[in-house]
């Protein structure tokens, strides 16, 4: 069956008379229709039967096609009955309504259209069907094309078209009232209304005067300021934010309260020597007094230098003067602050206090503020007396 085309244009009888006795699946596929309908010549039918006995795939497909044809016979058993007035409607649209009585009368002389749409003729005529008058027929200007797609396709001029079937209405219905278009429009509407609602714009309160650019700018500015204030107020009232701010402030003050020069103010040799001498890290009273005096002098020098720098550069904040300054004293950190006589001990060890700065954040009615105040009071230059 090598001489067969893809679709088997040759008749089935010729296919069966080929020299090959065995049919392959491709050849049998071309004979499915005749095999199902039982119109194959007996020799070809026998070859198909032999092949399907061996080939389960072809056998199953032929069986399925036969079942499909049997199903279709169910539809063929009961003939369709068209509506009773269909002929009258057809005649009314073709030969004219006034010539068609209600009970399908005989027409006398139908008015066939003299002018013919050659495009429609080309579309509907089969190859070989042509009329001598075809080439001379003119296309009426007012008649719509048969393939305009929508509207009164093929409607004769005398027949009135309902409003909902007119091209403009049909086009509107197909485009605007399409479910997808309606969905897009609804989404856009909800998005715009949600945005306006979030911005505080109420359409019912808008007046023509509000549409001026200046008024719109003023409204937008006011809305922005109100929204900003609302957000800031909410943010500042968050407890965690306040706690974080407090902790950062504590750390910053702690870092500022331990100046680097003071750590280097004590000569390593003296400190090391004192520790080595006493063995327990204690020093003599004379050494302590000299350390305190030197520490105080260095501290005062640092403050003076900072003030001078601040005067030269206004951008640098001026560190406030200490409330208490003078010779180093022992402070107990677990004691209540009593400025300037501060006595503090941390973990049983006294601390040397040289200055107390009034750095604090005053937040009334808050336990944290009192702690901050205590911390500010004890924000001092200290050094372990160890």
């Amino acid at each position: 069956m090598k001489d067969h085309g893809q679709f088997g244009d040759k008749p089935a009888g010729k296919q069966a008379q080929s020299p090959s006795d065995q049919l392959d699946c491709a050849a049998v596929e071309l004979l499915w229709v005749e095999a199902v309908e039982g119109t194959l010549p007996p020799p070809v039918a026998e070859k198909v039967r032999v092949h399907t006995a061996e080939c389960a795939a072809c056998r199953g497909k032929i069986f399925q096609a036969r079942k499909g044809r049997e199903w279709l016979l169910v539809l063929k058993q009961e003939p369709l009955i068209p509506p009773g007035d269909l002929v009258a409607k057809i005649l009314a649209k073709t030969a004219g309504a006034q010539e068609v009585p209600a009970h399908l009368p005989r027409l006398t002389v139908p008015k066939f259209p003299v002018e013919t749409d050659t495009r429609a003729a080309d579309r509907y005529s089969l190859p070989g069907y042509s009329s001598p008058d075809h080439q001379e027929a003119a296309i009426p200007a007012e008649r719509p094309s048969d393939y305009d797609g929508l509207g009164q396709r093929g409607m004769p001029p005398g027949v009135s078209v309902p409003v909902w079937q007119r091209p403009s209405v049909v086009l509107l219905r197909k485009t605007v009232f399409d479910p997808r278009m309606a969905l897009v429009a609804a989404m856009a509407f909800f998005s715009i209304s949600l945005t306006l609602n979030l911005m505080g714009v109420k359409l019912t309160r808008i007046r023509p005067a509000d549409l001026k650019p200046q008024a719109m700018r003023r409204v937008v500015t006011r809305q922005y300021a109100q929204a900003n204030a609302r957000v800031v107020h909410y943010y500042e009232n968050l407890r965690i934010v306040y706690e974080v701010e407090s902790r950062v402030h504590q750390l910053r003050q702690a870092a500022e309260s331990v100046p680097v020069p003071e750590k280097t103010s004590y000569p390593q040799g003296e400190q090391g020597a004192g520790a080595d001498r006493n063995g327990q890290g204690h020093r003599s009273d004379r050494d302590k007094k000299s350390d305190r005096d030197g520490l105080h002098r260095k501290r005062m020098n640092v403050i003076a230098v900072k003030n001078q720098n601040a005067q030269r550069n206004h951008a640098t904040p001026v560190e406030p003067e200490p409330i208490f300054s003078g010779p180093a004293i022992e402070a107990y950190l677990n004691a209540k602050p009593s400025i300037p006589n501060v006595n503090a001990v941390e973990n049983g060890r006294p601390k040397l206090v040289t200055a107390v700065f009034p750095k604090c954040i005053c937040r009334p009615d808050s336990q944290a503020s009192s702690r901050l105040f205590q911390f500010a009071c004890f924000s001092m230059l200290e050094r372990n007396s160890a």
Binding site: V36, P83, I90, E99, P156
Partner: protein, 203 residues
């Protein structure tokens, strides 16, 4: 075969008379062909309303383009079927978007085109139960037929429901005869597969 050729000759004679201006001949043409065209449209669309509208459109087209038909060179029935098929293709393309969703009018159309209860009751079968079962079965097959692709559907309808031969179908569909056979086979198999699936769901 001779009866078929006689019918073709009779129809062509009617068309000649129509072209000469005989209104009665046009009435005979409409009465003789409107059932077949209506059935073709209904089997393809599955809607009685669409089938009625399309049948009217077909005859309006025929009325307007009858002068282009050459009586001596072909069958009027094939020409009419070609015209109907073209309108069905147009209708399918136009309503493709609507076919993806179920219409709210579904169920209002009378599936068999009969409008009154009396016509429903009036049937050639004496057993109402059998009548009901047949109608249900026809509705199932019709529904499955609508799910077959249009190319296969039109070939199957023309062959199995309208009894056209392969040559006429090839002429109507503008495809080779081998393609017609292939489409018919595949359409039948697809229909059987769909109905088997429906049967498994029901059973």
């Amino acid at each position: 075969m001779s009866a078929n050729s006689d019918s073709v000759e009779e129809t062509n004679a009617l068309v000649r008379r129509c072209l000469q201006g005989d209104g009665h001949a046009w009435l005979q043409v409409v009465e003789s062909q409107h059932r077949r065209i209506y059935g073709l449209c209904y089997r393809f669309t599955g809607s009685a309303g669409d089938a009625e509208d399309l049948t009217q459109d077909v005859f309006v087209k025929v009325y307007r383009n009858l002068k282009t038909f050459d009586v001596e060179r072909g069958s009027f029935s094939t020409w009419l079927t070609t015209l109907t098929r073209n309108l069905l293709v147009d209708h399918f393309r136009r309503t493709r978007a609507e076919q993806t969703t179920h219409s709210l009018d579904a169920g209002w159309d009378d599936p068999e085109g009969v409008s009154s209860v009396a016509e429903k009751i009036q049937t050639h079968q004496a057993d109402p139960l059998q009548n009901c079962m047949d109608r249900e079965l026809q509705a199932l097959v019709q529904q499955a037929l609508l799910q077959v692709s249009p190319e296969l559907r039109e070939a199957v309808i023309l062959r199995d429901l309208k009894d056209m031969d392969y040559k006429e179908i090839a002429e109507v569909l503008h495809i080779p005869e081998g393609t017609v056979k292939s489409r018919i086979s595949r359409g039948r198999m697809e229909l059987a597969r769909l109905l088997e699936r429906t049967k498994r769901q029901v059973m």
